[in-house]
């Protein structure tokens, strides 16, 4: 299976750069999720790789071979479109068979190939239907089956779960990783849903305004986002962002919230005195029984099935979201105190929006809390 390398790819539409110097490598057999808000250029990037759109600048190498003058049909790619793009005048069978007939396989081999992939995706009972007679979920599976049918080395999936209902999306999110692993293909999976990105990707590439903002494992992106924007994109409820100016005393670096210390990572000394933004994940906050917690007023509580999210307001009127597992006891209203886990606190530069990396990143709890 080929490795995909993208070097400095640039694409403009009417003078406006949609892709602005994108460089990215997807390892052989890896699943990379391409995540970004709508309009970030995800689909355009995928189309450049597929050969449906010609980039102005940069190179695309599949298995080390420059794709510049290679027609889409010779790139050995399977692609599923966000709008499915099923051929409306062909049955589901013929749709799925199209990559196989292109290889001039015998009729038996085509039927065998279609049935194999249809069984895998549980659509073998609707193969004779026209696309308009299929439910949305079946359409989506047919589109996926068509992309998989010829066992391509490189698989491009453009938000294939976007247009299907929540239940099916959940099912497919469970099924897809195994399916993709069985294929052994190199996969780029485009999505706007951070949970999907984290669930399916070996690595995540965050695309924003036509640039790659960060590439890393789901864990890295969540724990060590490169910027405020990325921190905000991953996580539900979204991260709490509070303007602070870190200080330092004998006990170490800390940020002051409502006159209470929130201890920070010891390696953040360089940030002392600068205008910063403190990022606290809602699940890194908890209600505290101690008097030294941050005093807050509870505004509202939203119970979800597996967790409860509480909106609290500090003395200075700053709103903070706290998430805790459902069933854990907590004050329901009135005054309360909260505390933060220092290890999970993120610090961003307010001017550049970039995360301030501690000198000794990934340090131990004791060091941070010291």
């Amino acid at each position: 299976m080929p490795e995909l390398r993208i070097e400095d790819l640039t694409k403009r539409f009417k003078g406006e750069a949609v892709l602005d110097g994108v460089s990215l490598t997807v390892e052989d057999g890896e699943t990379l999720t391409l995540f970004g808000p709508s309009g970030a250029g995800k689909t355009v990037l995928l189309r450049c790789i597929a050969g449906a759109v010609d980039p102005e600048d940069g190179r695309i190498l599949i298995g080390g071979e420059d794709m510049q003058d290679v027609a889409p049909e010779h790139r050995g790619i399977g692609m599923a479109f966000q709008n499915f793009a099923l051929f409306p005048h062909m049955t589901a069978f013929d749709n799925i068979a199209s990559p196989l007939t292109a290889q001039r396989r015998s009729r038996d081999a085509v039927r065998e190939g279609v049935e194999r992939v249809a069984k895998l995706l549980k659509i073998d009972h609707v193969l004779s239907h026209a696309p308009r007679a299929l439910s949305n979920g079946q359409k989506q599976r047919t589109a996926l089956a068509r992309a998989l049918a010829a066992s391509p080395g490189l698989l491009l999936l453009d938000d294939p779960l976007r247009n299907v209902d929540a239940k099916l999306r959940f099912e497919m999110r469970l099924e897809l990783p195994r399916l993709l692993a069985d294929q052994g293909a190199t996969v780029i999976y485009v999505t706007q849903d951070y949970k999907e990105a984290m669930a399916l990707g070996d690595r995540i590439a965050v695309l924003s305004d036509g640039k790659i903002a960060q590439v890393g494992t789901p864990e890295e992106i969540y724990r060590r986002p490169a910027s405020i924007e990325i921190a905000r994109l991953f996580g539900d409820p979204t991260i709490n962002l509070l303007d602070v100016v870190p200080e330092k005393d004998g006990a170490g670096v800390f940020a002051r919230l409502s006159n209470q210390r929130v201890p920070l990572h010891g390696g953040l000394e360089a940030a002392v005195g600068r205008d910063c933004v403190l990022g606290l994940r809602p699940e890194a906050l908890r209600f505290s029984a101690n008097e030294d917690g941050i005093p807050v007023m509870i505004e509202a509580e939203t119970p979800f099935n597996e967790k409860t999210v509480t909106l609290v307001v500090t003395a200075r009127g700053r709103e903070i979201l706290i998430s805790r597992p459902a069933g854990t006891p907590a004050p329901a209203s009135g005054a309360a105190q909260i505390a933060a886990d220092a290890t999970d606190a993120l610090l961003f530069d307010r001017a550049t929006q970039a995360r301030i990396v501690p000198d000794r990143d990934g340090g131990s709890t004791s060091e941070a809390a010291a």
Partner: protein
């Protein structure tokens, strides 16, 4: 539609009847005339009561025009054959040239593409006579005057822009993703054009072809100027019924019935495609 009051439904029925009568009456009257002799047609006041005769049809098909003064030969059946040959030929050529061109204009924005497409459309703005006089001189010199080939060529002025512009809209309405998907699946652009673009634009191509056929069939001026008797279509051939000894209304009527029959049959047959095709193109899917 279901919640119309009886009065509304009744009024609607009347309105529809009036419209149908208004448009169908000329055709109905022509059919009646074609079954009468010149004398019964010209009697005053006109009457719907007469003894039907197929004499007009017999005369036309046999090629003998008998008036009360003289008897002369007419080549109406040859005209009909010419009409069919010219219309079918020019629509076939126009489809062969126009559909790929329409695809190119729809899918590829190259320098000057809009200008070229518009120039082709502008052929329909100019009065035909403006083109015809110089054209007939050229045709004399290069030996195309009074040939089927030359006429079919000139008929492209009518058919080609029509097909090009209607079919272009249909190609533009097909999602490019469908074609991308087929190519990524491993098919060449040519087979993508044949297997995806052509079938999906099919209703539009059929509608455009039918319209072009009707326009070609009804054309009068090109054939009048560029063709001599043996190459003339029915539109020009019908002039032969205006003779020195009077106008043979009955035979003209029969000739008209015969000459609208092919287009009418074709339109009725293709009606479904025509309506579906013309309306499908209007809605972006």
């Amino acid at each position: 539609m279901d919640h119309m009051s009886p009065i509304e439904r009744w009024l609607r029925g009347i309105a529809l009847t009036v419209v149908v009568l208004f448009f169908m009456f000329p055709i109905f009257w022509i059919v009646l005339m074609s079954l009468q002799t010149n004398e019964t047609i010209l009697r005053s006041p006109p009457s719907m009561v007469f003894e039907p005769t197929f004499g007009n049809y017999v005369a036309i098909i046999a090629g003998r025009l008998d008036s009360n003064v003289a008897s002369m030969g007419i080549a109406f059946m040859d005209n009909l054959w010419n009409s069919i040959l010219l219309s079918v030929g020019s629509v076939a050529v126009a489809l062969l040239l126009g559909v790929p061109a329409a695809y190119a204009f729809a899918r590829h924005k190259f320098r000057g593409s809009e200008e070229v497409a518009f120039t082709l459309l502008s052929f329909r703005f100019a009065p035909p006579l403006l083109v015809l006089l110089p054209l007939s001189l050229y045709f004399q010199q290069i030996g195309l005057a009074n040939t089927y080939l030359g006429l079919i060529w000139v008929y492209q002025l009518i058919c080609l822009p029509l097909i090009l512009w209607i079919v272009r809209g249909y190609f533009e309405d097909i999602s490019p993703d469908l074609e991308h998907a087929y190519r990524i699946a491993g098919h060449s652009w040519l087979s993508t054009f044949r297997r995806i673009a052509l079938p999906l634009a099919g209703p539009g191509i059929a509608a455009a072809g039918l319209l072009a056929f009707i326009f070609a069939w009804n054309n009068f001026i090109f054939a009048l100027v560029l063709a001599s008797a043996d190459k003339q279509p029915v539109t020009v051939g019908a002039l032969a019924f205006v003779t020195a000894s009077g106008i043979q209304y009955g035979q003209i009527a029969a000739a008209i019935v015969l000459s609208i029959a092919p287009t009418l049959a074709l339109a009725l047959y293709a009606q479904r495609y025509l309506v579906e095709g013309l309306s499908l193109g209007a809605v972006k899917g």
